[in-house]
């Protein structure tokens, strides 16, 4: 029945628009951002997109909160880098372009190895066990220097393969396009997986494991399969990172990388397929760009994360979707003034807070040489009181104004939704 129904479905060009648009954007972006740094950032975004999407196969789609997803990407990266070195020595005939497959398969194998024990239960238990496994693997990485390369890691040369049609992976642009192609393929594959019976039943296991058991599915098996598949894609992203950086160190499977992908996925939004993509872009921007500007980037990212957990647990994607719904109904004009006020007040508060944080760091590290901190055109002498006082006043005033504005947003939001509800009823 369903196959027949699907055959009759008219070809909907709108459905392909996001995919075509994304592919075109990926192809054209390097022409816009010629700068080496931007290209590096884009490559890292692609890697992170695959990683975050694979993480969301667990968190968003199966309800498995993992604190150790970097185990699979990291081990995939190690296997890929060893394969690359074997290619270099001539002991292995394998195209470098297909190296992510090596990472993926080895990631999936480690998923099989660890997955059966870890996926017995979901929820808090799974979270703790995934953390334990991650620490175990991280501790092993220092114990077995032959495979993990000890403190220095394992290095490789990505240009060792035979050049094909002039593609040697010497220039960064070629690596970018390799990552772009794999990002598209992996994203499409993961999207397709959400439409398979397994993907659907994983959602059921997430929402109500008891009923899923009653209709005859073994929830343990479903979670296990999801974990193995997620580990495959994590391995793909790990292998791409190995090709991109030409080095894999213990950091690749450490707790900070596991935590990073959790931050990225959650900030983007776990309830929507595009959520992790948004989150990966935001996170990579923080890690790649903001970290070079300030030492406190992780503090800002952590605060952003906490604010999302407290007030927008659906992430950026669900915020965007809710506002899109309002805009479609033509009611966005009612929200816009309140939004503008809240945004202005929030930015002021954030500016005050960031100024204080930056002044503290500057006071501790640099003030001995030069007491004047230059921040966005301002000259702040951190050894005198006025800048501190001023920043505190801006923070307090901005915070108070934000409090008021946020309440107005909530009132307007409820008004708009009352009208939306009436419209649809």
């Amino acid at each position: 029945m369903s196959t027949e129904a699907r055959r009759c479905e008219p070809l909907n060009p709108w459905r392909w628009l996001p995919w075509g648009g994304a592919a075109a954007a990926l192809a054209l972006l390097p022409l816009v951002f010629r700068h080496g740094f931007a290209l590096t950032l884009l490559s890292q975004m692609g890697i992170m997109v695959i990683f975050a999407l694979s993480y969301n196969m667990l968190l968003g789609q199966s309800g498995l909160l993992s604190f150790g997803h970097a185990v699979y990407s990291g081990l995939g990266a190690y296997c890929a880098v060893h394969a690359l070195n074997l290619i270099g020595k001539g002991q292995l005939a394998f195209p470098v372009s297909a190296l992510p497959l090596v990472g993926g398969v080895s990631g999936a194998l480690f998923g099989v190895l660890f997955g059966w024990v870890t996926t017995k239960k979901s929820g808090t238990t799974f979270a703790m066990i995934s953390l334990g496994i991650a620490e175990m693997v991280a501790a092993c990485s220092l114990m077995l220097p032959g495979f993990f390369g000890g403190e220095g890691g394992v290095t490789a040369n990505r240009t060792v393969g035979r050049a094909f049609l002039g593609i040697s992976y010497g220039p960064a642009t070629q690596v970018y396009y390799l990552i772009a192609v794999w990002t598209m393929v992996a994203t499409a594959a993961m999207f397709a997986l959400t439409r398979t019976p397994l993907g659907r039943i994983a959602n059921a296991v997430r929402d109500n494991p008891e009923r899923a058991e009653f209709i005859g599915y073994d929830t343990h098996v479903v979670r296990f399969l999801q974990l193995v598949l997620a580990a495959f894609f994590a391995g793909v992203s790990g292998a791409l990172a190995a090709i991109n950086f030409e080095i894999v160190s213990a950091e690749a499977l450490g707790a900070s990388r596991s935590g990073g992908v959790l931050l990225a996925t959650f900030i983007g939004g776990t309830g929507w397929f595009v959520g992790p993509i948004i989150g990966a872009v935001v996170y990579t921007f923080f890690v790649g760009a903001i970290s070079s500007v300030t030492k406190a980037w992780l503090l800002y990212l952590g605060l952003f994360f906490i604010v999302m957990v407290l007030f927008a647990p659906g992430g950026v994607a669900s915020l965007a979707a809710a506002n899109l719904r309002v805009a479609k109904a033509g009611l966005f004009g009612r929200l816009a003034p309140a939004y503008g006020a809240a945004l202005g007040a929030g930015l002021a508060a954030l500016g005050g807070f960031a100024t204080i944080v930056e002044m503290i760091y500057y006071h501790e590290l640099e003030a001995v040489n030069d007491p004047v901190l230059r921040l966005l055109g301002l000259r702040l002498d951190v050894t005198t009181a006025p800048p501190w006082f001023g920043a505190a006043v801006v923070l307090a005033a901005g915070g108070a104004a934000f409090w008021v504005a946020a309440r107005r947003v909530r009132v307007r939001w409820n008004e708009v939704h009352e009208r939306l509800g009436r419209g649809s009823a």
Partner: protein
């Protein structure tokens, strides 16, 4: 023999310290269902507060003030953070405490810097307590054991002999019934969370100078405490006690032993089989494998006895 005794005492003192952390974590978990990811961050805060107070005023004042301050922070976190995310479920609560751990670590970076601070054992407690066959046992280790045991006895008495302790124990299993009887359960949650944080802070005060006070100490201890809770059985205080001592001794003993499979084979007059990976695996000494052993124990417990040593529900 003297090696065994001294190592055992060191292991027990470390295990008692672990139990101060895991008892708070277990109480919070069984009462609120929240696995507090930031628990070890409170331990770190305790150590840093104690460092700041002891360099300005004195160690003994720090011993009292720092845990109280950490407990107050814990209560604020519960009141204004956890209670807000409570309606989104346990995963959201776990994520909240996870983000909190990040922020506390970054704030520690901000206030005290990234390098270890010089938090020292007070002069009165510096020196050997006694010596067994020439191996001395430091006074401070004894002091740590004394503080932990006193604290835990107080906790035990408070939970079993006082009115509020009885209400807390009732709220562990039947929160709705306790609420219906007119007790303020959310306030109880706040107290328990603050109390757990204060215990962790106290552990930080006495552990920070015995080990190293640095921004990575929370992550280092945090995972071990989780392992203790899983091995002991989620939500079981007695299990957490046994697992704490077990893992404390396991870690203390394993770092001191240089046994390896290759060594054992050599003693039997055998050669390890050739092959790079095999040589590497067989050559690992117990002390090299020490960081992995607690996690290995955890995985074994999960396979063989998923509810832990004393747990009633399956992990």
């Amino acid at each position: 023999m003297e090696f065994f005794l001294v190592t055992l005492l060191n292991g027990v003192s470390y295990g008692l310290l672990l139990f101060m952390l895991s008892s708070g974590l277990t109480l919070i978990f069984s009462m609120m269902g929240v696995l507090n990811f930031a628990h070890a961050s409170f331990y770190m805060l305790g150590a840093y507060f104690a460092y700041s107070i002891s360099t300005r005023i004195g160690f003994w004042q720090a011993l009292v003030v720092a845990p109280v301050a950490v407990g107050a922070i814990g209560m604020l976190v519960e009141r204004f953070g956890l209670r807000t995310v409570h309606r989104y479920g346990h995963v959201a609560e776990l994520l909240f405490t996870f983000g909190l751990a990040y922020i506390i670590e970054e704030l520690v970076h901000l206030v005290w810097g990234r390098l270890p601070v010089d938090y020292r054992i007070p002069a009165q407690l510096d020196g050997p307590l006694f010596a067994i066959y020439g191996t001395s046992f430091p006074i401070y280790r004894g002091f740590m054991m004394l503080v932990s045991v006193t604290m835990l006895a107080a906790l035990y008495l408070a939970l079993t002999r006082t009115r509020i302790g009885l209400v807390i124990r009732a709220a562990l299993t039947h929160p709705h019934m306790v609420e219906a009887l007119g007790h303020d359960v959310p306030r109880m949650f706040m107290l328990v969370f603050g109390g757990g944080a204060a215990l962790a802070g106290l552990a930080g005060v006495i552990g920070g100078n015995a080990f190293v006070t640095e921004p990575g100490m929370a992550a280092l201890v945090g995972v071990i405490v989780f392992v203790v809770v899983v091995v002991g059985g989620m939500g079981s205080l007695a299990g957490a006690f046994i697992a704490s001592l077990l893992i404390g001794c396991l870690q203390t003993f394993s770092v001191a032993l240089d046994w390896s499979i290759a060594g054992a084979l050599a003693r039997l007059g055998l050669q390890p089989p050739p092959g790079l990976l095999v040589t590497e695996l067989f050559g690992i000494t117990v002390s090299q494998a020490a960081p992995v052993l607690p996690y290995l124990l955890m995985v074994l417990v999960l396979i063989l006895r998923p509810r832990g040593i004393m747990g009633t529900r399956e992990a």
